[in-house]
Point group: C2
Chain length 99, copies 2
């Protein structure tokens, strides 16, 4: 089952977001990450995976030495708003219902 994980990460330039993009692309090539989006203006990284846990993805992003401010699983299918200026309210992003 695919899961979606949202990370708030401190990225101050395209070099910072590029580093995270590269580390996640490697996981995508290894078919561990299904898809991902990195948004420098929103300071957010959204990762979809069939196999990795939230902590697994945390460890992958942490390799870049970027500071992870916040992380949570979000409902599958949630996407980052495409408009650059559209802010995402962290607490408003829906999380999966625990059975």
């Amino acid at each position: 089952m695919t899961k979606s994980y949202l990370f708030e990460v401190k990225m101050s330039c395209g070099g910072c977001s590029g580093a995270i993009t590269r580390v996640l692309n490697k996981q995508k090539e290894a078919e561990k990450v299904k898809d991902f989006t990195v948004s420098l203006p929103k300071q957010l990284v959204l990762v979809e995976s069939d196999t990795l846990s939230l902590d697994d993805v945390n460890d992958i992003i942490a390799k870049t030495q970027k500071t992870i401010v916040n992380k949570k699983e979000v409902i599958q299918g949630w996407k980052l708003p495409e408009a650059e200026g559209e802010k995402v309210e962290w607490d408003a992003v829906p999380t999966p219902v625990v059975m």
Copy 2:
């Protein structure tokens, strides 16, 4: 014997150089790196170590996903010029004499 390694690394902001500083600080705490200097304006990283090889240090820096443009061992004791504007000519940095 302490060895000194010089790396030319693409860093575009303080977040980029900070990531490299953090990964090298961890190695310093683990006493694998003796000392190091990261210069964002010069795009250079100088690392001194008693135990690590050039390739070891390469792998540590590469974890941050920053692009390593160039690398070489330089003579022990060589330091980065402190003046920000002072450019370093890569080929002019002396390398150890091979016996």
